[in-house]
Amino acid sequence: MSAVFKPHETFRDDFTYANSPQAIRRFPLPFPEDNYMYSVNIEPHMPGPAGSVTEFAFDVDEHYVAECRERAIVLAAEPLRYQALPHMMSSQWDCMELIMDSLARDYPEHFSLAKQGNRWHWINRPLEIDQHFTFGDAASLPREPLDYITRQAQGDFVVMDQREGDLWTEAGMVTTQADWSLDFDMGMTFKEWHGPVPLAHELQVFDRALKFLLNLRLGAPVRRLNWTMTINPRLDTSPENYPFWGPDRASVTAQNAGDRVHLRVELQGLWRLPRSNAVVFGIRCYLISLRELATVPKWARRVHRVLRHLHPALIDYKGLTRYREAAVAWLAPFDDGSPTTPGTASE
């Protein structure tokens, strides 16, 4: 079933973003249990149930048009949110092909791609784009291929070159991130890039994840979920713009937490790329307010319990210090102490 786009919702200023009841039901809750700690929770990125966020390689939902517009706003102000080192050009074409092939195959009502040798014709109906170009010839596109296609996709993309037994962050489009900077982290190794993440290094999460990803196979993508919280449905919580969104954290009270505090879930997908042997890391962000979340009784109980008992280092790293208690207080009336069934299904 195809979603009905809400092209006018906003992720800044008046924050008109909201989830429809259908969007709430398919929200990817990242907590299979009532408590949370890091794990290498990687699984094959196989098609999930019809209508779920993992039904297709790249999920296109009711926020598609609005998210693409939000990305354009960010890039107009800060062009460096997109960067690619020169040796990443073949991986750029790889990414473009992966995204175009997937969207055209999975959403034929919105996208189409016709290939005649290297002459490609791409149509994006929701964004009213009709583009003829020559695959492999950057001059035939209005922008670099990765820049071009990720302006037409939801979620951030980071491309990692593989060499010296490591993965190097060397290209990306990052405008919907949870407080990390592509500009600062460009050129870093896998562990340097994840350097600020607490506890996980000691749990050897990154050793194991790196070893796994170095052997990631063509045609066998994987995925995992990660999460944090954001005040207001703001996609661009970048370190660059922290002076503008940081103050929001001080505005939360137990009364307004239901509408202000959002669970921010990242559906992270990883693909081996064929021409470049690079790995692309897609980070798709889903936002849901506590009020929307609480329409599912089991989720309200679970999130209440996860937040109440969260490890102090994670509270600090995820930036929840100022408002976690208010969020817990707002959720408390929804938690009668009854057990939750295992897994994330809404019941």
């Binding site: 010296e164 600062f184 982290d185 050129g187 350097g195 600020p196 922290y242 002076p243 103050p247």
Partner: protein, 199 residues
Amino acid sequence: MLVTGIKSKPVYAPLQADIRGRYHLMLGMGVGAAPLLRVIAEMRAASEASLKYTRVLYVPGAEAEQFKTAAVSDVQIFAGTPALLESFRQVLAQSLMGTRLYVAGPESFIGLVMKIALEFNLNKDEIRAEECGSLARRIYCIHCRATTEEVRTNIVRCVGCERWLLVRDHYSRRLAAYMGVMVDAEAPGELPLLKEVFL
């Protein structure tokens, strides 16, 4: 906001001669002379021949004289870091595989040398660095992208946007700088006590 314990912070170790290398290129600043002289002595003990392929680029420091007696054929003394870095770039362009790089000095000096070495695809197996002298940091403002030099304090006012920045341990080798992020965004005017911590 995590400040310390971040894994991107470089780890340095005392310099040791690596006689598996064929050519030895040493760069030092100030008190960085001492570790380099120590390596030269180690190399002399291991193989006199390797000193023939040893070259030193140095910004003094009072120790410049000591290199003259170290029996290294090629020592260049520079008036300042920019001149040394310019010469370093030219030397790398002429260098062959088998070269080992030894860097000794303040972290900010090491960072600037490493940044150029990266452009020549030298990697961790080819570079050794020992931190000595000042721990002062180069701070890249994540908000306005200006770099504030010689930062010795836990928070610093950005030379570009004049925001007060928290100095984090997150380090970029490409930028040769630590990250600075606005410290009082969530509560304007609430600054932690200014402390000298990078001496």
